[in-house]
Symmetry: C2
Subunit: 213 residues, 2 copies
DNA sequence: GTACATTTCAAACAGTTGTTTAAATTGACT
DNA sequence: AGTCAATTTAAACAACTGTTTGAAATGTAC
């Protein structure tokens, strides 16, 4: 029975949709409990606070995604030769697309939430993420450094953040971009299409030659 | 006298700082009027509403920047040969940096506000911008298409939005990035340093070869 | 100085927010 | 049946939001 799932899950499902669509702070608990058809107070009862609900929504995906990524990174690091940058970036594709198994449109929802996490709130989510998954991120940075030996570490730092901006922004405005692409170019682009368009763009940007001056 | 500037300007100055730091919707009129040391009601008296105040804050920069960009774009379009992509992108540098003449840290503030405009609100700012400056933007897109004749228009559309994401995100988290760069790499990076790092990254990404599959 | 328009001000408005409370309901186990 | 804990519920809480009001203050022109 679809109506017999427990309250916590109904809240998480409604929350992630609303959070992804309109952002964390713009979504009220009354909207969430209204869509989930549960009582307002149940959010605080089951999750403690809105802040903790936000973290729980993200954690549902991160708990699956990050260990997989960590494993793939370790595998690439153990190979002797430095890896091609496109290969390193392509590691993200499959684990991200498998988030669709957790939930309908899981990949899209997660990436939108990630975007919201960076643009909406500054504090607690960044800490939450670094605290839980900082080690995994370090492996990824190391891989990129190995595949771009000509670039100083500081330049890689900046370019990876440039790339994070691309991803986060693209996913946050994903719906709008899809609509424009459909209207202006008669293109139907799904989330995997966007991801595969991103790889060559990001790879070229990160590995761009240093300017002379 | 610094304290004798009129109320409107005091409101605009305070508003742009708070908007840039914490976003439009997260900034309350009471914060703004508190920092500006004016009465709460004066915002509605002078600007009508918070929405119109946001537009006025952006307009102070856009009214200077966009005509300059439009002029530069027209100049490049009138040259017979297609222009190098890096040249096209470099057109932004000087006009952006001249925003520092309008205000202390004007360039940084404007770019942060631009970022907030895309991540914070969806509706009225996008309309406001397209309505006032859509023609100028079209010229820029045309220039990019001319300098990348191998890329289909739809691909350029996606890649320009990827690039917008980079810019917007980088500027929104500019302060945090500067701090990290200073702590981890002993680097002092000002806004013009960030802009000049962006150009080769963006140029390489936009002009990246199409993937085969 | 009188008249008039512009601007400032404190106060209140109606609406929303996240959170808490205490009573009512449900469930499981004896 | 009865007991106890887990859960749900409606109501209220205090704090905050953007906006409006009408009186007070200020500036300007005659």
């Amino acid at each position: 029975m679809t109506s017999k799932q427990n309250t916590q899950q109904k809240i998480l499902d409604a929350a992630e949709r609303l959070f992804a669509d309109t952002g964390f702070s713009a979504t009220s608990l009354r909207q969430i409990t209204g869509m989930a058809e549960v009582n307002l107070a149940s959010v605080n009862y089951h999750f403690g606070s809105k802040k903790e609900l936000i973290q729980a929504v993200l954690q549902r995906y991160l708990a699956v995604l990050m260990p997989r990524l960590d494993q793939e990174f370790s595998l690439l690091l153990s190979s002797q030769k430095p890896n091609d940058l496109s290969q390193v970036l392509s590691v993200f594709v499959e684990p991200l697309l498998e988030l669709n198994k957790i939930q309908n449109r899981g990949t899209t929802l997660f990436l939108q939430l990630l975007g919201r996490g960076y643009t909406d709130v500054q504090g607690h989510l960044r800490w939450f993420f670094n605290h839980h998954y900082g080690r995994t991120l370090d492996k990824f940075v190391l891989l990129v450094q190995q595949s771009c030996p000509a670039l100083p570490a500081s330049e890689i730092f900046w370019r990876l953040h440039f790339s994070l901006g691309t991803i986060v922004f693209t996913m946050a405005s994903n719906e709008a971009l899809k609509d424009i692409a459909a209207a202006d170019f008669n293109e139907v682009v799904e989330i995997d299409g966007v991801i595969k368009r991103l790889i060559p763009y990001l790879a070229a940007g990160i590995a761009a030659p240093l300017q002379s001056d």
